[in-house]
């Protein structure tokens, strides 16, 4: 076998550098995307692991709450509970350091309380971290920073660090440096520690803390302790095992992880198609050689092994190059993933991905497996060669075609199954429906190719003459190989159209909703243009100052906190509902009510009542007229549901109450964002400038964002697109791999039909006519894939919107036919496929013809 590999296979692949390159490239791209995806997923797991280790530390139980946080006053009763050995409050947030153009993890620690959970040693070696503890706790600007942070920014004892706080940028001073170990080494070493009271003041936590850590006494029954603490703290506060935190976060980020996995898998699949094609070409070209080998005694199994070994041999450089490219790509994939994670779920730092030995080994194994699996079918075809026939010189065009009709029946049945009602309403059902659709389309492809050829043959012949017709005929004649190619392209096109479709639907829904509710002229935020996890709230006083800025007629203040209802977390939004409704009425806009009476000024402010977003009503299973019970520091309060509206504030649902009731019940007057209404006749730009000046955000390092609402909408759409930029990049690469497959197929086609091409030339076909036939064949492959891919993509999109997204978020988005995207992708695929046929066509016509080669 080794001698055959060395003396026959290696020479063959060296003599056909283009095809060898295609195999190597297919594996390179497949492995690169696999590595990038795995690295991103690995970074996500590591980030969660670090987060959980940092947050849970030595705690057995953690107490957390939605809303502004856990009331700090609960600490004493928790600490006094039987079975509790240690309990301590903490605050943790990501703060921006505008002057240093970075962000860092700020931990607020109670130095005067239980030091059991202190995230660092007070004494590090023979060095005391805090020289004067009393001075430290009495200084609201005192800060401890990690050594790596201090070194990176050339800061020492007494150094100044400006942080963005609720009252704008504020100076803090370094009173100690922590060695890079434990919690101080987390978040990429970007860590600062301050006294908990200082953190509460600077970041408008009031009397609330982010969590209370609890360690059980030795031998304490943690389940029992958890139950007793839950009873003690009430329904609005969550007591859970620290270990559960990671599981919860992981389940939240499941869709992101699933999207990554699917992208990687599809890339590998399409890379496999490319290898399949290239080996298929080799088999076609070497039929005579295989016939001779078989006649000389090489067994069928030996022939299969030879071709699989060749593919594996080519997989080695492909895998190596894939690892190199994957490492570059993983920087991008990891950055995008961690950014999304940080924006949506938890404070995680950006990290440089590393190719671990395990990932390298996994990639090598995957590359080899992919190559061998993809080569297996063509290798079997090679082994089935009848040596007697081939040596006599029979044509090598495939003799048997797939049973198109039978496959169509199976395909249509599978696609029909995808529309059964049982597939609706669950994530599993949705995923199954999409799988059935793709499988169904795969089975129907041969029939689709035949049908499309029958439909197009006359117009194409009229337009492009006989060469056009021959091009279409060729595709049908090599139906098996054509089908594989169409399938690879179809998967890529389907993926592109599907993602494009639901992004378009999401964009359309969100922009129309934003235009409807964004009746204000200006949005004022701090730290981030939108109210995401990176924004820093304003104090009530700051909001008041905005209200009195010249040219401002009124403001609508926003406070957004998480609330738990019936075990489900949703977003509670407290806002000045009267201002909003008054201005909405004047300016023509407001909430679009889908259930309940139209809303008017006073409806939410007079008595505590709530308006729910569609998805919140669906996820919480409540209707207009029913009530939901919210847990405030003053106890449980029933809020009657006044209406259900169209709203996309949160994928976990949102409920709107009047700010006055929120402030009274929760004792929280912090403002996450402000919508400002400019007085009639006043200049919007001047008003925006005045707000900037008033909030002190004006200057070289501006941290206050005063944005026109229209620009805000554009920013939201832009962010949405950015979130899916990696998916889009994967789509393009997948499409590229599939298109390279067309080059391979066309090369095979030219080899298969060498005799026929020469005959055409002999009877008078010009080189241009022969080339036209080959290019039409390649273009038709692309056309079939575009038609099938667009259809499959649209069906996938509908299933995704109607089932998967609805099950995940409760959102029901109107399906927007992505006409432009589909037309663009379709035209691109047809054009590039035709172009992919140009090189083989050129090679076909430049080779010399002769009667011998016609008869060979």
């Amino acid at each position: 076998m080794l001698s055959l590999l060395r003396e026959i296979s290696l020479r063959h692949w060296l003599r056909t550098p283009l095809r060898s390159l295609l195999v190597v490239l297919g594996i390179t791209l497949g492995i690169a995307l696999y590595v990038a995806t795995e690295a991103a997923a690995g970074s996500m797991t590591a980030a969660f692991g670090e987060f959980v280790a940092r947050v849970s530390g030595r705690a057995d139980l953690t107490i957390e709450a939605g809303g502004p946080g856990v009331p700090g006053e609960l600490l004493s009763s928790v600490a006094d509970t039987k079975g509790v050995a240690h309990a301590a409050c903490s605050v943790e947030l990501t703060a921006q350091a505008p002057e240093l153009h970075t962000s860092l993890l700020v931990m607020g620690v109670d130095f005067l309380g239980d030091l059991h959970f202190l995230p660092f040693a007070v004494q590090e070696g023979d060095r005391t971290v805090i020289q004067d503890p009393l001075a430290f706790v009495n200084d609201p600007t005192a800060l401890l920073v990690s050594r790596s942070f201090a070194t990176r920014h050339h800061l020492g004892q007494g150094g100044r660090v400006q942080l963005l706080t609720t009252d704008g940028p504020k100076d803090f001073f370094i009173r100690g440096v922590l060695e890079d170990s434990g919690a101080a080494a987390s978040f990429g070493g970007q860590v600062a520690v301050m006294f908990i009271d200082a953190a509460q003041v600077s970041f408008a936590r009031g009397m609330f803390v982010d969590r209370i850590d609890v360690a059980g006494a030795p031998g304490a029954d943690l389940d029992d302790l958890q139950a007793r603490l839950q009873k003690l703290v009430g329904g609005g506060v969550r007591v859970e095992r620290s270990a559960r935190l990671g599981t919860r976060l992981r389940s939240l980020s499941e869709p992101l992880a699933a999207a990554l996995w699917v992208s990687g898998f599809l890339a590998l699949l399409v890379g496999g198609f490319l290898v399949y094609n290239a080996v298929g070409v080799a088999v076609a070209q070497r039929r005579r050689e295989v016939g001779v080998l078989r006649a000389l005694g090489v067994t069928r199994r030996g022939t299969v092994a030879l071709f699989c070994a060749e593919a594996a041999l080519l997989a080695l450089p492909g895998t190596f190059l894939g690892l190199l490219l994957g490492q570059r790509l993983s920087i991008y994939s990891t950055a995008t993933t961690l950014d999304a994670l940080d924006r949506l779920y938890a404070s995680v730092p950006q990290a440089v991905p590393h190719l671990t030995p395990v990932l390298i080994l996994q990639s090598i194994a995957t590359g080899l497996l992919m190559a061998v699996l993809a080569a297996y079918l063509p290798a079997r075809r090679a082994a089935s060669v009848d040596p007697a026939i081939v040596i006599r010189g029979a044509a090598s065009v495939e003799a048997t075609a797939p049973p198109a009709r039978r496959l169509l029946v199976i395909g249509l049945s599978l696609m029909l199954l995808a529309w059964l009602p049982v597939m609706r309403g669950s994530r599993f059902g949705g995923a199954l429906a999409i799988t059935l659709t793709v499988l169904g389309a795969a089975f129907s492809t041969p029939a689709a190719v035949i049908g499309l050829r029958a439909l197009l043959v006359r117009p194409v012949e009229a337009l492009l003459g006989v060469p056009g017709r021959l091009g279409l005929d060729y595709v049908q004649r090599t139906l098996g190989r054509s089908t594989v190619n169409v399938l690879a392209l179809m998967v890529a096109v389907g993926m592109s159209v599907s993602v494009g479709g639901w992004l378009a639907s999401l964009e359309r829904s969100i922009t129309s909703w934003a235009a409807q509710v964004g009746v204000a002229d200006l949005a004022v935020t701090q730290g981030s243009m939108v109210m995401d996890r990176r924004h820093v709230p304003f104090s009530a006083a700051a909001a008041e100052r905005v209200e009195h800025v010249r040219g401002i007629a009124g403001i609508e203040r926003f406070r957004m906190v998480d609330q738990q209802v019936k075990g489900t977390t949703f977003r509670l939004v407290a806002t000045d509902t009267d201002t909003f409704m008054r201005e909405a009425e004047l300016r023509g806009g407001g909430w679009r009510v889908v259930e309940g009476e139209p809303l008017r000024k006073g409806d939410l402010s007079t008595h505590p009542s709530i308006v729910l977003s569609e998805n919140a009503a669906r996820l919480l299973h409540v209707k207009v007229g029913q009530s939901i019970t919210l847990t405030s520091p003053k106890g449980e309060v029933a809020f009657p549901v006044r209406a259900v509206i169209v709203d996309y504030t949160s994928e976990s649902g949102a409920g709107f109450i009047d700010r006055r009731h929120y402030a009274e019940l929760w004792g929280d007057d912090v403002v996450d964002g402000i919508f400002a209404f400019v007085a009639k006749g006043a200049d919007i730009d001047a008003a925006a400038e005045a707000i900037q000046v008033e909030l002190g955000g004006h200057g070289a390092v501006s941290t206050v964002f005063v944005t026109k609402t229209q620009a805000l909408q554009q920013h939201i759409v832009q962010t949405l697109r950015q979130t899916f930029s990696y998916s889009r990049a994967v789509e393009i690469m997948t499409l590229l791999i599939a298109l390279m497959g067309v080059v391979g197929t066309m090369a095979a086609a030219v080899i298969d039909r060498k005799r026929e091409i020469n005959m055409l030339r002999a009877i008078g076909a010009t080189p241009g006519q022969v080339a036209r036939a080959i290019i039409v064949e390649a273009g038709f492959l692309g056309f079939c894939a575009a038609v099938a891919g667009i259809a499959v993509g649209m069906i996938e999109c509908q299933i995704f919107l109607g089932t998967l997204l609805a099950a995940q978020t409760g959102w029901h988005l109107d399906f927007v036919l992505p006409v432009a995207a589909a037309a663009r992708t379709g035209a691109l695929v047809v054009a590039t496929s035709a172009l992919a046929g140009a090189f083989p066509a050129w090679r076909a016509v430049r080779s010399e013809i002769g009667a011998t080669s016609v008869d060979e």
């Binding site: 003459g465 021959l470 026929e756 005959m759 002999a762 009877i763 013809i849 009667a851 016609v854 008869d855």
Partner: protein, 233 residues
Amino acid sequence: MITLENVSRRYGSGPKAVAAVHDVSLSIEPGSFVTVVGASGSGKTTLLNLMGALHRPTSGRVLIEDADVGLLSEDARSVLRRTRIGFVFQFFNLLPTLTAAENVALPARLAGQSRGPTLQRAHALLQSVGLGARSTHRPDELSGGEMQRVAIARALMMDPPILLADEPTGNLDSATGATILELLRGAVQAHRTVVLITHDAAIARRGTRIVTMADGRVVGDEVGDTGAGPQGK
């Protein structure tokens, strides 16, 4: 009229170059039936390729009805083949997706002629080779002899004055081969020039002139059973 003047054809270059045809001069009169014989590798197929404007000579001149093949562009040679020369191959080379009539009509369709009239003429040609009833059949529904008759009809589609046949009976049994030879002789009677390559001496004798090749050179040129006399060197 086909004229070859000191024609050589080499493959490859440098010391590895192989001369398939070496310094051949030959003149073939219109309406003659020339058979070319020789052992395998003697250069007879290369000679046919040169006469059919499939190859350009490396040196010397090939004139087909006064057109110098060496001076013609690729497209012009295609047009010359399409209009003035008909080819018949050993392995028939019919397109499997086309019917017999469509296969016959192919050269005319490649020349841009419209479908209806070309199919009518193809049908008439199929009738002339005894396959009128098979014109809508596809190649896989025809026997070897029938396929070769379709190929002859295709070669006659553009009414070319020259017919070149490379071992047209090589893949057929002797009875069917005889029918094919009769068809080719019919073409000669219709004042066409036919050049037939064969390794079968019996078939070669059916020509009016027998050219024998060895090592790329013409080593014999004699009168066949019905011939008039040698013309070349």
